[in-house]
């Protein structure tokens, strides 16, 4: 796979339209790496001019900030902003709602002003503009439920773009008991991804998986690497044969990219 690196493009005097911010999960987590690759294929198919930071990318600082470590967060943010601004980055694509939220909402107060777009919105726009076509295909008529990531939904009000994409796949979208602004968290937010849960009578991802199972859908569409991990772990421990898959991968599969 050929992936353009921003520093190399810049040294050749090229200015890509977008920076694709891969994120830590997208770089290192096995499930999320597949989403990264699917999105790269989509970007290529739609002829989007983009590049990645590669070795210059680093954590946005989100998990540190949600833990309460404002120092570490701001140190990460300021050094990231220094790199982004040195390359004169204007538009950023992310596949992680946590990176999306931090870059979009929290970097401006530290001097980083970018137009940030989450991949579900981007894909929806590309379909609307006929840059990619996704009707029919593998998901036609299949029952799919969509799990809203907190940092895309409630935190940033993006509920419709991912649903529009699923509907354009000619799939049957069914909603869980709690959805959109009342959606139930997968349990990973607020740095919970990196710690054992506090004492309780159930894990949150199990509760959310049960809600998804009740819809009878055999596919749970996700748009966040942490939700993806939590929901697929949930399905595994419920011993349910339900496929947890990111919307970018669904496009990849439907279009045989």
């Amino acid at each position: 796979m050929e992936v353009p690196i921003l520093s190399e493009l810049k040294s050749r005097g090229e200015n890509p339209d977008y920076l694709f911010w891969i994120g830590c999960a997208g770089s290192f987590d096995d499930r999320a790496k597949k989403v990264t690759k699917a999105l790269i294929k989509i970007l290529n198919k739609a002829n989007i001019s983009y590049a990645i930071l590669g070795k210059e990318e680093s954590c946005t600082g989100d998990p540190a900030k949600r833990s309460g470590n404002e120092f570490l967060f701001q140190m990460k943010a300021i050094s990231n902003i220094e790199i982004l601004n040195s390359y004169d980055v204007k538009k950023i694509i992310t596949s992680c709602p946590h990176c999306f939220n931090t870059l979009k909402n929290e970097y401006p107060d530290l001097g980083g002003n970018y137009s940030v777009i989450h991949h579900t919105t981007l894909i929806n726009d590309l379909v609307k503009d006929n840059k990619i076509s996704i009707s029919g295909g593998y998901y036609k008529g299949k029952k799919i439920t969509y799990h809203d990531p907190c940092y895309l939904g409630r935190a940033n009000g993006i509920y419709e773009a991912p649903r529009d994409v699923i509907e354009k796949l000619d799939a049957e979208l069914v909603e869980m008991k709690s959805c959109k602004s009342k959606s139930l968290c997968c349990g990973a937010g607020g740095a919970q991804m990196f710690k054992e849960p506090e004492k309780g009578n159930q894990d949150i991802n199990i509760k959310r998986s049960e809600e998804a199972i009740k819809t009878d859908a055999k596919i749970v569409a996700v748009s966040c690497p942490f939700c993806s991990t939590m929901m697929s772990d949930g399905m595994t421990s419920k011993q349910e044969d339900v496929d947890v898959i990111d919307i970018a991968q669904m496009i990849e599969k439907a279009e045989d990219l």
């Binding site: 570490l72 602004s181 968290c185 159930q202």
Partner: protein
């Protein structure tokens, strides 16, 4: 002289109860102002719109249709019946009887009195249903640990109060109607009484002078009840009927995902990266985060007083739903209870807070509760008046990490990784491109 004695007594009661209410509200404002500054004066149009839509228009109440609908009835009843209250006050001060009836067109007056009666009946039914939901149906969100004792007593008190007030109001009208029909002196015919006329048989067998005594007792009990209710507000969760308005006006307008930048930290970090950009004046380092109520900002303190303990936040909280100790409602109640203690401390010590060896962290809100939060914003979304429990949780986490260095042990590994290799997991930053080569 004897003729105006009731008017004098009434005026004294009125001035005393309104005066005491204003005294308490001033005290409340002083306490809220103890909070740290936060600027919420931007975008006044949007703020006003939110206040009208959410507080006045109750838009977030109806997301739960049953309690929302009942609440709207009680709320509309409360507002509309206040027009009648105005007449009662004028009658009380001047000694008139049904003052407005002399100035309003009779059909308009009849219409108004009839609507008040119908609303009073609807309020009565709604309040009885509310009581049933709390005490017989036993809805889960009213039974949590933090609702035991005073909060339960307080919630029921308000319902009893409203039941008694509505019954007094209707009984007052019923006896008034009997006196009107018997042409009793001063009780000329005014008003239409679709509900209280049904109660006439209860009093009709008494002599006119006894009915007059009944009427006076109901009239006085009703207005004294209202004065007591007004002054009960300050000591009760029922303060929300007033604070819902400033609370929605001053609520956060930013994306819910945006957690503000801590300026004191920004200055420290700038000193490390760009010393020329750091401000000099901030040489005295603030305390980072919050361990007690006086570390919170004034909007957070106002939130605490505005909370009516409905528990919609807690019933949506993923941590609470899965049996963890965290309850966003308890965060607000704890903040208010601690603030009340701090406020008394300041009053006793003549305007200065003297350390009492107590604090919000650990003594009210445990670390276990704070670490259970997923920062998902479900509580913020669920609150009918835009209270933000999450901001308090986050401020307290900042104190735990930056002042006490008592992060959850699992999180220390994650933070070390971010600091050393730029990812929450122990992968080398140089390996960030490895996925490209992988098949």
């Amino acid at each position: 002289m004897i003729n105006i004695l009731p008017n004098i007594i009434f005026s004294i009661l009125l001035v005393t109860s309104v005066g005491f209410f204003i005294y308490n509200i001033k005290k409340l404002i002083t306490v809220i102002k103890l909070g740290k500054p936060v600027d919420r004066t931007d975008n006044p149009k949007k703020r006003l719109y939110n206040m009208i839509r959410i507080a006045l228009g109750q838009s977030k109440m109806v997301t739960k249709p049953i309690s929302g609908f009942l609440h709207v009835i009680v709320y509309v009843g409360f507002i509309i019946i206040n027009i009648e209250l105005l007449e009662i006050l004028i009658d009380g001060i001047t000694g008139s009887h049904r003052f407005f009836s002399k100035y309003f067109n009779p059909s308009l007056y009849n219409f108004l009195i009839a609507s008040f009666e119908i609303l009073a009946l609807l309020v009565l039914i709604s309040v009885i249903l509310f009581w049933t939901r709390r005490n017989i149906v036993k809805i889960k969100r009213f039974l949590s640990n933090e609702m035991k004792g005073w909060p339960k007593f307080d919630a029921d008190n308000i319902l009893y109060f409203e039941i008694v007030l509505m019954l007094l109001f209707l009984s007052m009208n019923a006896t008034d109607l009997i006196l009107q029909e018997r042409n009793f002196e001063g009780y000329y015919k005014a008003g239409s009484f679709p509900v209280s006329s049904l109660m006439v048989p209860l009093f009709d067998s008494f002599t006119t002078s006894t009915v007059y005594v009944f009427e006076r007792v109901f009239w006085w009990s009703h207005i004294i009840g209202i004065f007591l209710f007004l002054n009960y507000l300050y000591y009760s969760k029922h303060l929300h009927i007033l604070l819902a308005f400033p609370n929605t006006y001053f609520a956060n307008l930013e994306s819910k995902g945006k957690f503000g930048i801590l300026e004191s930290v920004k200055n420290e970090v700038l000193l490390m990266f760009y010393p020329e950009k750091a401000s000099e004046s901030n040489s005295e380092i603030d305390k980072f985060g919050a361990s007690d109520v006086l570390d919170l900002n004034w909007v957070q303190l106002m939130n605490a007083y505005s909370c009516t303990e409905c528990g919609r936040c807690t019933s949506e909280c993923p941590a609470n739903l899965t049996g963890k100790k965290l309850s966003p409602r308890k965060i607000m109640m704890d903040t208010r209870d601690r603030l009340e203690k701090v406020s008394k401390n300041i009053t006793i010590n003549k305007g200065k807070f003297v350390d009492d060896g107590d604090r919000l962290l650990d003594n009210y809100i445990s670390k276990e509760e704070l670490w259970a939060c997923t920062s998902c914003n479900a509580c913020v979304e669920a609150c009918p008046i835009n209270i933000d429990p999450l901001s308090i949780i986050m401020d307290m986490r900042q104190f735990l990490i930056m002042e006490e260095s008592s992060a959850h042990p699992d999180l220390n590994n994650m933070m070390n990784n971010i600091e050393n290799n730029g990812a929450p997991w122990p992968y080398n930053q140089q390996d960030r491109e490895l996925w490209i080569q992988e098949a």
